[in-house]
C-alpha cells in the first residue's frame, strides 16, 4: 500500500517536465528568442485577425486544450526515455500555420507560467522551437505532399505523420543549436543526441497527429480546411 503511493508520487513528480528550463540557454540567446517570438506572434495575430472565420475560433480553443493535454501524456521510447507530442504540425494542418502559432504560444506560455514547465526566460525559445517552427515546418511539408496525393485518404494520413515527424526533428535541431551557442554542450555532442532521440519521439508525434486528423475526417470532415482558391468573400477596398 505504502509503496504504491510512493510509486505514484514518484511518477508524477519526476524532475523537470521538460521544456527548456532557464539556465540551459544563455541570456542573449534567451533574449533573442523572446524578440523573435514577439515579432512572429505579432504577424500571426495580424494575419489571423484578417482571416478568422466562424469555425476557427472554437477550433482554436479545442486545439489548445487538446494539445495542452496531449503534451502531458509522455509515452515511452527506447532506453528509459519518454517523449510527448508537441502538436504544432497538427494545429497548423487543421488551422493554418498562423492560427496554429497563436494556439501553440498560448499552450507553451501557459505551461511555463502556471506549471513551471519551461523557464520564463527561455519561453521565447520554447515557443519558437515547439510551437512556431513545428507549425511552419509541419504545414509546409504537408502542403508540399498534398497535391501528389489525389485525395487518397491513406496517403494523406501517411504524409501527415511524416510532416509531423519532420517538424519534431527540426525543433530538435533548433534546440541543439541554441544549447550549443549557449555553451551548454558542444554542437557535435548535443545535435546527434537530440536528433537521435527525437527521431523516435517524432514517430509518436506522427502517429498521434494522423490519428487525430483521421478522427476529425471521419466524424466532422467539415472542420477540415477547404482548399478552394476561389474564396472571393474578402474582396473589399
Amino acid at each position: 500500500m505504502m509503496s504504491i503511493t510512493q510509486a505514484a508520487i514518484q511518477v508524477t513528480s519526476d524532475g523537470p517536465g521538460m521544456h527548456i528550463p532557464d539556465g540551459f540557454v544563455s541570456a542573449p540567446v534567451a533574449a533573442a528568442g523572446w524578440v523573435a517570438m514577439v515579432g512572429i506572434l505579432a504577424v500571426a495575430v495580424r494575419v489571423t485577425n484578417r482571416e478568422l472565420n466562424e469555425k476557427a475560433v472554437p477550433l482554436m480553443g479545442v486545439m489548445a486544450a487538446f494539445i495542452f493535454a496531449a503534451q502531458m501524456m509522455n509515452f515511452p521510447v527506447a532506453g528509459g526515455t519518454s517523449g510527448h507530442m508537441l502538436g504544432g504540425a497538427l494545429a497548423a494542418i487543421l488551422l493554418g500555420p498562423w492560427a496554429a502559432m497563436i494556439v501553440m504560444t498560448a499552450v507553451v506560455g501557459f505551461k511555463s507560467v502556471l506549471f513551471q514547465d519551461g523557464g520564463i526566460a527561455a519561453l521565447g525559445l520554447n515557443v519558437l522551437n515547439m510551437g512556431m517552427l513545428t507549425a511552419l515546418v509541419g504545414y509546409a511539408s504537408y502542403r508540399t505532399a498534398e497535391p501528389l496525393l489525389r485525395g487518397n485518404r491513406t496517403a494523406l494520413l501517411a504524409s501527415v505523420s511524416v510532416a509531423a515527424w519532420i517538424s519534431v526533428e527540426v525543433a530538435a535541431v533548433s534546440t541543439s543549436l541554441q544549447l550549443a551557442v549557449s555553451g551548454s554542450s558542444p554542437l557535435d555532442v548535443v545535435l546527434p543526441a537530440m536528433v537521435g532521440v527525437h527521431a523516435l519521439i517524432g514517430v509518436g508525434e506522427g502517429l498521434i497527429t494522423a490519428a487525430a486528423l483521421g478522427f476529425i475526417m471521419t466524424t466532422r470532415a467539415d472542420l477540415l480546411p477547404q482548399r478552394r482558391p476561389a474564396s472571393s468573400s474578402t474582396g473589399r477596398g
Partner: protein, 110 residues
C-alpha cells in the same frame, strides 16, 4: 455558434480525458531533452523558476496521481477559456467595429 457547440464539448471532453488519464498512464521516464541533458552532462545547469504555482503538473498539498489529474483538468479548462476568449474577442472586434466594446483601439486601422 450553435453548430460548434458539440465540437467544443467533445473536444474538451477528449482533452480532459487525456489529461486525467495521463496522471496514471504517462511515462515518468525523463523525456528527450532531459535525457540528453543528463547524458551529455548539462542537466545541472537548469535553474529553478524561483516560484511555484502548479509545479510539475501537481497541486501542492495533494499527493499522488490525483494531484496531476486535477492539475490537468484545471489546465485544460483555463487554456480552453483563454483561447476561446481571445478568439471571440478578436472576432467581436473584427465583426462589430463601432458597436462592440472590445475594440476601441483599432479605429485607425482601415
Amino acid at each position: 455558434m450553435r453548430r460548434y457547440r458539440n465540437v467544443i464539448l467533445t473536444g474538451l471532453l477528449i482533452a480532459g480525458m487525456v489529461a486525467i488519464s495521463s496522471a496514471w498512464l504517462a511515462s515518468g521516464d525523463p523525456d528527450g531533452l532531459e535525457r540528453v541533458a543528463e547524458e551529455k552532462d548539462f542537466l545541472d545547469r537548469a535553474e529553478d523558476p524561483g516560484y511555484e504555482i502548479l509545479p510539475d503538473y501537481t497541486i501542492p498539498g495533494v499527493d499522488g496521481a490525483i494531484s496531476t489529474a486535477l492539475a490537468g483538468v484545471i489546465g485544460v479548462g483555463v487554456v480552453a477559456a483563454l483561447a476561446l476568449g481571445a478568439g471571440y474577442l478578436l472576432r467581436a472586434r473584427e465583426g462589430g467595429r463601432g458597436t462592440g466594446g472590445a475594440g476601441a483601439g483599432d479605429a485607425g486601422k482601415r
